[in-house]
Structure formats: structure tokens, C-alpha cells
Symmetry: C3
Subunit: 103 residues, 3 copies
């Protein structure tokens, strides 16, 4: 028996990690996992006509939540707060969990 | 041409890594990948009324299998064996693979 | 408001990392992330009757692209070029992104 849930994946420059974790906690998530990595991508910059591509150190923060509303709230808050000025992406996908009471 | 498969993701305290890998191998999986990370979450504790939240070192073990039955068998065995007493989650999602014979 | 996109996940021996990143860039992806890990799996070997299982250092390269065609093109090129002779897998899954213009 499995239950549908949502995973939010936030890939961001390492310097934003603590503040994004706070957004995740404030949204009511019961936990998250963090992986360090590297990457290459286009910075979101204020001037939208310009896109700077560079290599950077990053973290990927993954959060499982039971509702689409919570997933979208986290994703939108992170994107609005950080991704105009810092490199990063946020995306949501579907997962099946075993125990609903943990989320 | 792609084929549907299942990915099982197990996030667990590092001390359980070897034993969970044995569960994965015994279930007939042909391989797995392991990533080290950190996280914060609610421990599954025997006394269900109490939930301890703490930061901890973790590993994420990912396994691709061709059948839902194998995916659920791994997920259930891991959850039953470890997640009453240790922090961790297990979840399943859908992926498309290119070559069916590898799994 | 979210948009459907595809994530390509490439798990490969570390020595192939740079060349696979070049395939990803040539396919038109705007970025990718890389995580180091370890794993165990069956090598794809030219002689298909033989399968060597070994532990190895690996990287996981994740790429978000907006079209299924680009995702499959990357996956097929990587599989054809590397996975006859090196350990590794490539798979595709569905994700929802917030901002279509970044991909």
C-alpha cells in the first residue's frame, strides 16, 4: 500500500542553503535532505536579456510533502526569493510513500 | 524507445547502509547507487506519540528495478526493519529506462 | 503554475564525466548538476553473456530539459557511446518546473 506525495527538489548555490532550509521548515515540512554537488547553468539575473553561465558549488535540497499545495508554496517562495539573483532551479515530481503519517 | 521502470529511493542514517544494501541485493536488484548527504527529520520512534527531530548524516540509496512488485518489496522490507527505530524515508517513483535487459 | 519538463539522470563512472557533460551541452541543455557517489552494478560489456559486477566511484549527472525529444537524444547518445563498455545507467523522468524560459 502506497500513498501519493510530492518531492520538491531545490538546486541552489551553497550560500543560500540555510535560508532555504528555513523556508522549507516554515512551510511545515517534517524533514529534508541535502546533497553537495557541482554544476553549470544560467544565472537568473535581474536584467533578463543577459544570462551568465558559470560553474559553481551547489547543494540540492529534497523535501517530501504530502500535498501539492505545500510543494508549490515552497517552490514558489524559493524561486521568487532567490532565483532572480542566484543560480538555481526548483522542480516538483510525484513519488509514492509508504507511510502517510510521517509527512 | 523507452521502458517503464521503478526507482526506489532510501534515505537512511549512514550506519544502516550495508544492511540495506544487502536487502536490495537479496531482492534481486542488479545494482544501486549511494550518495552521502545530511538532513533533518523526524525519527520514527517506538513510542509513536513522541517524535525527535535532529540533524544527522545520511546516505541515499537509489535502486532501479523493472517491476512494481520488486520495488514495493524492497521499500516495505526496509521500512519495517529500520524506520521504526531510525530516521529515514523510502519512496518509489516512475522512470523510463532505455534498455530493459539490464534490470 | 507549473510546466512539464523532463529530467535525464546519467549515472556513470567518474572518468566519463567531462565527455558526457559535453554531450549534454551539445544537445542544447542550459545546465546540469553533478553529484559524486559510489555504487555497485553490472557492467555493460561487449560480450553480452558475461556480466561483471563491481563496486566503483561514480557521478550522477542530472539535466532538466523542456522536451522529450531532447531528453531522449541525450539518453540515447550517452547509452550508445558509453554503456557498452562502462558501468552506468541513464533514465528519464517527469518533473514540473516553475519557469519555462530557463530551459
Amino acid at each position: 500500500m502506497t500513498y501519493r506525495a510530492k518531492r520538491v527538489s531545490i538546486v541552489t548555490e551553497k550560500l543560500n542553503e540555510r535560508q532555504i532550509e528555513r523556508i522549507v521548515e516554515e512551510a511545515g515540512a517534517t524533514g529534508y535532505t541535502v546533497f553537495e554537488g557541482s554544476g553549470k547553468g544560467s544565472h537568473g539575473v535581474k536584467n533578463r536579456n543577459r544570462s551568465i553561465v558559470s560553474a559553481f558549488s551547489l547543494v540540492k535540497i529534497e523535501v517530501i510533502v504530502s500535498s501539492r499545495e505545500t510543494a508549490e508554496a515552497i517552490a514558489e517562495r524559493v524561486a521568487e526569493t532567490y532565483f532572480e539573483n542566484y543560480a538555481g532551479i526548483v522542480y516538483i515530481d510525484d513519488v509514492e510513500i509508504l507511510r502517510r503519517e510521517k509527512f
